[in-house]
């Protein structure tokens, strides 16, 4: 008897299914992608018992004829491509023709489908991949697929499913992310009879990201756009909103949710200036549109990995686009981050809008903003210098335009000086400008000013270094000395002229120009030690950002230093010319503002 035998079809199908179908959320993914490819603008996902008992995906897409419905169950049957060449120009999400048969082979499945304008619907019943019954039936246009008892015939795999709540979480995460990339679709996620999410179409991206991801409010997101060869769009959170991991970074390539180390790397580099603390990551939702021929999605059956034909280009374009978008934020970032939010607690709640499915904090805050504005009387156009109109124009949630307060006080243009009120606790500088009170953290703002100045020098390739009359011999330790020796050319870009000098010594010939605080040997030694502490930064750009941030920090005023009015004025002037006056390079806020209307609200005048 031969040892090698061709597997029974049902066995091989189940093995193949294992590659694509891992857990309920994989089923949802495949079915929802089909729904999207069918042109649906309403998709309802229902799960029972976390999807273990049943997964029901209904849509209002084009539906299938009886013939198609049966054919869909054959492996590699697909409507999406016909020849191999089509793979290159692929625009649909699915194409392998594996999804339906794979799911069918490991579950009990029912397909209810009716073509638009068709006479009647079709119902197909399948169990373990075998068609049990095909019969005409009455049903709404579109397709409804019921998947019950997932892995009933693969007990081992079924055993490895997690608790219903965990599986539900995976499904919710997936549906949320799909909803991000398909804003024109009305999404519903239902568990048993409870609506987990109701995401109506027409919500702008910031609003939808806030709904789906939670954790942020829409105005804490900055729109991203740009690219060249690749078209890029998306949002990134303001620099005060960060998380200790990258879980809040979502990438779509041609509408497909992907994991991409290249994109993640580009985000890190592009944002290094704003989020240089490597342990802190912003929220990023990024859509990359590329001509189909430039991306290979056929790397893995779940298509969650992609290969770019031009990885360098996509990396550079993404990094640049993010950087530019944050730079364009300017002083708006301060407003976004630190103005007192118009919290509903301060005044009576707004009337309930007609559709308020998934209640998100973003909703109430956003509407509150609007009410607060109304109560405050409409602002006249001439009243304040208007910036950030882009945000003003964006409609949100299909209701009244979102009224983000993006105005600087009227006095801004007239009296650019601002009035220094004093120093609080030897740490905070109080400045009044028009009707707004600013609180500056003297260390953080000074650090930020230094940081940007150093970056400007670096970018213009004019690192200025002050030569020392008496070169300093510093004992920094063997490990640090070796590390610094390796980084000598890079450190020159920051303004250091160092020379290796023996096993644990460096000779400092010049230091960055313009930092009086970096005068003594001890300060310079501390600085170099701190720079050497990040020997994990292999990437030269990241290392330079780190070195620059460290110089900026060490050279900055410390909390507790008493400042003269001139010094405070200098800081305030510096603060206003900052490209990004929101956080210091370590992610701490540089200033907070309190407007007159904030005070009115707090005192319940409005």
């Amino acid at each position: 008897m031969p040892r090698i035998a061709v597997l029974d079809r049902s066995v091989s199908e189940r093995i193949a299914a294992g590659e694509v179908i891992e857990r309920p959320s994989s089923v949802v993914k495949e079915l929802v992608e089909n729904s999207l490819d069918a042109g649906s603008d309403w998709i309802r996902v229902e799960i029972r018992d976390g999807g273990k008992q049943a997964i029901i995906v209904s849509d209002n897409g084009c539906g299938m004829s009886e013939q198609d419905a049966v054919l869909a169950l054959a492996r590699h049957a697909t409507s999406k491509i016909q020849t191999l060449d089509d793979l290159d120009t692929l625009l649909s999400l699915g194409f392998r023709g594996e999804a339906i048969p794979s799911i069918a082979s490991v579950s009990r499945m029912e397909i209810w489908t009716k073509e638009h304008g068709g006479d009647g619907g079709t119902r197909v019943q399948i169990e373990g991949g075998e068609i049990l019954d095909v019969s005409p039936t009455g049903c709404p246009s579109g397709t409804r697929i019921v998947v019950e008892d997932l892995f009933w015939n693969l007990p081992a795999r079924r055993k490895f499913l997690r608790s219903p709540l965990t599986e539900q979480g995976h499904v919710a995460d997936l549906v949320g992310k799909m909803a991000l990339s398909n804003p024109a679709v009305h999404w519903l996620l239902v568990s048993k009879d409870r609506t987990l999410a109701d995401l109506p179409p027409g919500t702008d991206l910031s609003g939808r990201v806030a709904q789906v991801m939670g954790k942020v409010r829409p105005h804490e997101l900055i729109p991203v756009s740009g690219g060249g060869f690749f078209a890029l769009s998306g949002v990134v959170s303001i620099p005060t909103k960060t998380w200790p991991n990258r879980r809040n970074q979502v990438f779509f390539v041609n509408g497909r949710l992907v994991h991409s180390p290249i994109l993640a790397g580009a985000v890190s580099e592009g944002l290094a200036r704003y989020f240089p603390q490597p342990s802190q990551h912003p929220m990023v939702v990024l859509f990359v549109q590329s001509p189909p021929g430039e991306v290979d999605v056929n790397v893995h059956p779940t298509k969650s990995e992609v290969r770019f034909s031009r990885p360098g280009d996509v990396y550079r374009e993404v990094a640049t686009a993010l950087q530019e978008s944050l730079e364009a934020g300017g002083l708006n970032l301060v407003e976004r981050a630190y103005s007192i939010p118009a919290n509903t607690a301060f005044f009576s709640p707004p009337p309930a809008p007609p559709t308020r499915g998934g209640e998100e904090t973003g909703w109430s805050a956003g509407r509150g903003e609007e009410i607060g504005e109304d109560a405050g009387g409409c602002r006249q156009a001439g009243e304040g210098a208007r910036i950030g109109e882009e945000t003003d124009r964006r409609p949100w949630g299909g209701t009244a335009p979102q009224q983000m307060v993006m105005e600087l006080p009227a006095a801004y243009a007239a009296a650019p000086g601002g009035q220094i009120l004093g120093q609080l606790g030897g740490t905070y500088i109080l400045v009044r400008e028009g009707d707004t009170l600013f609180f500056l953290d003297q260390h953080n703002i000074h650090e930020r000013i230094h940081f940007e100045a150093l970056n400007r020098r670096r970018e213009s390739r004019k690192s200025l270094s002050q030569g020392l009359l008496f070169p300093l011999h510093l004992d920094v330790g063997p490990k640090e000395a070796a590390f610094l020796a390796e980084k000598l050319p890079l450190l020159r870009d920051v303004g250091f002229d160092l020379e290796s000098f023996g096993l644990n010594r460096v000779l400092v010939r010049a230091v960055p120009f313009g930092f009086e605080k970096l005068a003594g040997p001890d300060q310079i030694r501390d600085l170099l030690t701190e720079i050497s502490a990040r020997d994990d930064l292999r990437d030269p750009t990241l290392f330079l950002e780190h070195a620059t941030a460290t110089v900026a920090c060490k050279a900055a005023l410390k909390a507790g230093e008493v400042l003269s009015e001139d010094e405070m004025l200098c800081l305030w002037d510096g603060a206003k010319s900052l490209a990004n006056p929101s956080v210091c390079p370590h992610g701490r806020p540089v200033m907070i503002q309190l407007r007159l209307e904030d005070l009115h609200r707090m005192f319940k005048r409005k």
Binding site: G467, L469, F513, E516, A519, G520, D522
Partner: protein, 346 residues
């Protein structure tokens, strides 16, 4: 104790004394001035434990004695009096003093004179004799080059006084620039080196007058005193090895540019108005295209300006070798003064 003063004379003497007294010091008595009337002389004394000032005041002693009065309040009272005579006397309550005259009476809290720190007795040899004018001038022209604050290289926050071969050499440096002045001494002194805190010298400079009166400097261990007829100025000295300045003073700077001092200074000040980064020091760049080949040398504008405004010649010379080696800035007729400035590499 009872002393009579003329307001105007007291006021002149009081201000340098009260400047040293610091009311914020944890040791309350350091905020006071010691007034001492003994052996026919009235002395006003103050100290912050690093610097001490003792001045002899013109006053008529009615009754001898000593007491300390709060410096700030006392000097404010005196400043605001009209020209008149006044009397400083112990109250019946011994912890108070009365300041009174024609139509006014102030009663101040006093602290007993015994609690006031005793200024050191510095005897020994007079090491330097200089005119008050020369010393004041020298201080003004090099004090800016010393490092501000003690930082962690304290010796650089002082000025080196070095005596060798009938010459007194004064050097101040913050590690990026250096000012050096050589003053010939009328008679020979023993060789000596001492570093005096710039802060103390600054105070001394303010106190000294533009006169030909001779200042004697006496050194003892870690203390120095400057003596005049009516003033004694005490200061501690700084410990540490002053850098070997001679080796970094360039000897072979062959390129020289001569500039009109005041015009150059005015230009630097004007450009500073427009410099964008207010919080940053400004650069001054000298760009040469013909005489020295293509050469650009840049300095911290403040370093150059400090020299310009404190020198006196009509023209100044900048001697340099290239864009990275130390340059010399000095008045073009000057022989005793030298400033070394380290360029900025761009």
């Amino acid at each position: 104790m009872k002393i009579m003063f003329e307001k105007r004379e007291l006021e002149n003497i009081l201000s340098p004394v009260s400047r040293i007294a610091d009311g914020r010091n944890a040791l309350a008595i350091l905020g006071n001035i010691l007034v001492e009337a003994r052996e026919g002389r009235v002395k006003l004394i103050s100290t912050d434990l690093e610097i001490g000032v003792e001045r002899i005041a013109k006053g008529t002693i009615v009754e001898e004695g000593a007491i300390t009065v709060p410096a700030a309040v006392f000097s404010e009272i005196i400043t605001n009096l009209k020209d008149t005579s006044l009397e400083l006397a112990l109250n019946e309550n011994a912890s108070m003093v009365n300041v009174q005259g024609d139509g006014f009476l102030y009663t101040l809290n006093a602290l007993p004179a015994e609690e006031f720190p005793v200024l050191p007795e510095i005897g020994g040899e007079t090491v330097i004799c200089l005119s008050s004018k020369d010393l004041k001038d020298a201080i003004r022209r090099l004090i800016f080059a010393a490092a501000p604050g003690e930082g962690n290289n304290p010796v650089l926050s002082g000025v080196l006084f070095s005596i060798k071969d009938n010459h007194l050499t004064l050097v101040a440096t913050d590690g990026r620039r250096l000012a050096k002045r050589v003053i010939p001494l009328p008679r020979s002194h023993r060789e000596m080196k001492v570093v005096i805190p710039a802060k103390a010298l600054q105070e001394l400079g303010k106190t000294l007058e533009d006169s030909e009166e001779i200042v004697e400097m006496l050194v003892e261990e870690n203390q120095v005193v400057f003596k005049l007829a009516t003033l004694r100025f005490y200061t501690r000295v700084l410990e540490g090895q002053f850098p070997d300045y001679d080796q970094i003073i360039p000897k072979t700077n062959t390129k020289r540019v001569t500039l009109h001092r005041e015009e150059f200074a005015a230009t630097l000040k004007r450009t500073a108005i427009m410099a964008k980064e207010k919080e940053m020091p400004k650069l001054v760049k000298l760009v040469f295209s013909k005489d020295f080949g293509d050469l650009t040398i840049a300095f911290n504008a403040k370093f150059v300006l400090d020299v310009l405004v404190n020198e006196e010649d009509e023209y100044i010379d900048i001697d340099f070798k290239d864009s990275v080696s130390p340059a010399i800035v000095k008045g073009n007729k000057e022989t005793n003064w030298i400033h070394v400035v380290m360029p900025i590499c761009t």
